[in-house]
């Protein structure tokens, strides 16, 4: 059996796959955060909690209504998106005239409430969520074993990420979004209902988090704290990629996931902090982030 830098290939590719999976979730979540930050100028601390809600909606659909994975893949993001629109309309929208800090505090509070409520109801232990039948098993690639579900997660999240990027950067609707991000007053003065756009953007951003939650359910189990474990890294990803940059969020998310995987092989002790070390370096050299524009 050949070896690469003294590492058996199974271990190397296994960690890279794990890194790619984590990176897919970082990308999906930081993409939603980037879209929300660009349009609302709100740092959405509730993002991790809404990701968790997405996973729980999938689990509840399965255990109490009998709706399976594929149904949940549509219904859970819709539910989370609607919840987001309600939160935006009733609470967040009142804070736009104040300092950005208030939006952050509100969403942080919402995250605590959501997590606390689910913890109270379901406890902290994870609820198992089965892999759908169609995606059970895996492929032997010769150098490694690739579980089908994990391949699906990577493909699905890449498709959604680049679909979102395309919609924002290359379509008419995306042009409205970009323009309203830059100068909402003027876009309103052209006859576009910007407050509705803002609500829908928030709904879409958190729906992405809900979708990530459903994708994550069979891998990480469904637990009230699953979001808060992930969200800190995701915020680091957003900072490294550049606040509000769509492409930055996607590329940085995947890249950092892979980098984390590699660190686990070559220097496991550093794998939990490598993202933050990179964040510190990027902030020193390019404070606006790798893909960010100076404001």
């Amino acid at each position: 059996m050949f070896q690469l830098l003294g590492i058996p290939p199974q271990a190397l590719f296994g960690q890279l796959l794990l890194g790619l999976i984590n990176g897919s979730f970082y990308a999906l979540l930081s993409l939603g955060l980037a879209v929300i930050f660009g349009m609302l100028n709100v740092i959405n601390f509730a993002h991790g909690a809404l990701y968790m809600v997405g996973a729980f909606v999938a689990w509840l659909l399965l255990t109490s209504v009998g709706v399976g994975y594929w149904g949940a893949l549509v219904l859970a993001p819709l539910t989370v998106g609607l919840l987001g629109i309600v939160l935006e309309k009733t609470m967040l929208s009142r804070l736009y005239k104040l300092d950005h800090l208030y939006g952050l505090l509100l969403t942080f509070g919402l995250a605590l409430i959501l997590e606390g409520a689910f913890r109270h109801q379901y406890g902290v232990s994870g609820q198992p969520y089965p892999i759908p039948d169609a995606l059970k098993g895996g492929q032997n690639l010769g150098f490694m074993f690739l579980p089908n579900y994990r391949a699906w997660v990577v493909i699905a999240s890449l498709t959604i990420c680049f679909g979102t990027w395309f919609a924002i950067e290359r379509t008419k609707l995306g042009a409205y979004l970009r323009a309203a991000t830059e100068n909402p007053t003027l876009v309103q003065a052209f006859g576009i209902n910007v407050p509705v756009m803002v609500s829908l953007t928030y709904g879409f951003g958190v729906a992405l988090a809900g979708l990530a939650g459903v994708l994550a359910a069979p891998i990480y189990q469904v637990s009230p704290l699953m979001g808060s474990n992930l969200i800190i890294v995701v915020f680091a990803v957003v900072v490294i990629g550049g606040m509000g940059s769509i492409l930055g969020a996607i590329v940085t998310g995947l890249g950092l996931g892979l980098l984390e995987g590699l660190t686990k092989i070559f220097y496991p002790e550093a794998s939990n902090i490598v993202v933050f070390v990179i964040m510190a370096i990027v902030l020193l050299i390019k404070p606006a982030g790798l893909f960010g524009r100076e404001r």
Binding site: K172, R178, A179, E182, T185, A189, G191
Partner: protein, 245 residues
């Protein structure tokens, strides 16, 4: 000849925009103190006055981009005060702001086609390119990479597509070279011939005199005088006093 103030000449058509006793506020500060003016269909009317006289604020008040407004702003008989902000442009009012507002994250074409068409009868993109040949072939350029004059042309051009019949132009010549100002002037005259009604804020009244029918002079948040363009020469001394030039 009477002295010109408040005599109505150039009665091109019926009243399109009527502003009566308009007061406007940004937060606590009271910036418009009872503006009254009238713009008739097909007219080009300028608002002249020093910096801070309330010209731009009057335009922003018409578009609803102002904290609080009292009084009356009627467009073709419809009251604009109290109307949702995004519905005002949909009546057929196009706004070209002072800072031009070209979006840097949009290409020239995306900038051009961004404002939704609100009425039939807007200009087509080829017609717009005839009017502003500089914009031709620049479609995929980033909007803010155009020169200042081209950005101004783009800011005007994107409104012409929408079918708006009243155009609010805020200082279209500001900071531009004389040769570009001339080009803008040609375009504005062409628009007038096409029947657009135009309200123009200008510091440069020499430019204004080449295109306008009437001039409203503003001071301290209200209109202090109205001078028809054909009596501009006779009123030059007075105007110099108003504008402090």
């Amino acid at each position: 000849m009477p002295d010109g103030a408040m005599t109505k000449t150039a009665q091109v058509g019926t009243a399109m925009l009527e502003i009566a006793d308009l007061h406007g506020f940004y937060g606590e500060s009271h910036v418009l103190h009872g503006v009254s003016l009238e713009v008739r269909q097909g007219e080009v009317v300028t608002l002249l006055g020093r910096n801070g006289a309330g010209k731009t604020s009057t335009m922003r008040a018409i578009m609803g981009i102002m904290g609080k407004r009292t009084g009356s702003i009627r467009f073709q008989g419809t009251e604009l005060i109290g109307m949702a902000q995004h519905k005002i442009p949909r009546l057929g009012i196009g706004y070209v702001p002072e800072e031009r507002g070209i979006f840097s994250s949009l290409s020239v074409d995306e900038n051009l086609t961004l404002p939704p068409v609100v009425k039939e009868g807007g200009m087509t993109v080829p017609q717009i390119h005839d009017l502003f040949p500089n914009l031709k072939g620049r479609g995929s350029t980033q909007g803010t990479r155009l020169s200042g004059g081209e950005q101004q042309m783009l800011a005007i051009a994107r409104i012409l597509r929408t079918g708006a019949t009243l155009i609010l132009l805020d200082e279209p010549t500001e900071g531009l070279a004389p040769v570009i100002i001339e080009q803008i002037g040609v375009a504005v005259r062409a628009l007038k011939q096409r029947g657009f009604t135009i309200v123009l804020v200008e510091q440069n009244f020499r430019f204004a005199a080449t295109i306008a029918d009437r001039h409203y002079v503003m001071e301290e948040g209200h209109v202090v005088d109205m001078i028809p363009n054909d009596q501009l020469e006779a009123n030059m001394d007075k105007l110099h006093t108003y504008l402090g030039v």
